[in-house]
């Protein structure tokens, strides 16, 4: 797995404590759900952000995806709460 740009928004950003970062997940992390699980193990700020993983929305290269979406080939992955625009 190559380096990934991760972006966080709203309370996901606040809980993790940064707007984004570049990380290289291990090769066994193949989809969004596994990436969330791997990030959750990196520290309590991540565990807090992803404690209710099923409400977390994700986007790969700026397109909405579900948690079973494969991440191979992704350049940027974003995590955020359900949207409240409009």
């Amino acid at each position: 797995m190559s380096a990934l740009k991760l972006s966080y928004f709203a309370w996901v950003r606040e809980r993790i404590g940064r707007p984004g970062e570049i990380l290289t997940p291990p090769s066994e992390v193949t989809n969004i759900g596994e990436l969330i699980a791997w990030l959750s193990g990196r520290g309590e700020e991540y565990a807090y952000a992803f404690e209710n993983a099923n409400v977390i929305r994700a986007a790969i290269d700026r397109q909405h995806v579900k948690h079973d979406a494969p991440i191979s080939g992704a350049r940027e992955i974003a995590f955020f709460p359900p949207m409240t625009g409009g």
């Binding site: 928004f9 709203a10 955020f80």
Partner: protein
């Protein structure tokens, strides 16, 4: 001729009259203009401001996708969607949607469709700043917004 589609994500306010004029001036084929403007409420006097965060790039892309879907579904002559970010005070504008068409039904329905999908798909989040000086919570998404968008899939 393909419909005029305009999507803008901006900090500054928008001028509704000017945006309507953009879609109607110099042409005689527009029979219906429907506009929706969403404003910041004061929540019974408790809200000082809303802070609107967005995902730059994706916000534009998602709203443009929604506008193009509307243009594919209804005979539109124009569609405009403008969404602000940053701090917005009670009484100020947040979002504008305009749909123009030869006839009213398409314009009404398309404007509502664009708003319904914008709310559930465009990456924006609202944080409340309270009058008592505290920074309040992130606004929670409503199930009713999801249902509003889903009904277009059954229709």
């Amino acid at each position: 001729m393909s419909p005029l589609i305009k999507v803008a994500i901006q900090r500054e306010d928008f001028d509704v009259a000017r945006e309507i004029e953009r879609l109607t001036q110099g042409r005689g084929d527009v029979g219906a203009v429907v506009t929706f403007t969403g404003l910041c409420r004061d929540e019974a006097g408790t809200l000082e401001a809303l802070e609107l965060e967005h995902y730059p790039g994706m916000a534009e892309d998602e709203i443009e996708r929604v506008a193009k879907q509307a243009a594919a579904r209804w005979p539109l002559l124009g569609a405009t969607a403008i969404h602000r970010f940053g701090k917005v005070l009670p009484g100020e504008n947040i979002v504008l949607v305009i749909a123009t068409s030869p006839h009213r039904r398409a314009a009404f329905e398309a404007a509502e469709f664009i708003m319904d999908y914008l709310k559930t798909r465009a990456p924006f989040w609202k944080k409340e700043h309270c009058r008592d000086g505290s920074v309040g919570d992130w606004v929670e998404a409503k199930d009713a917004d999801d249902s509003a968008a889903e009904r277009w899939e059954q229709a």
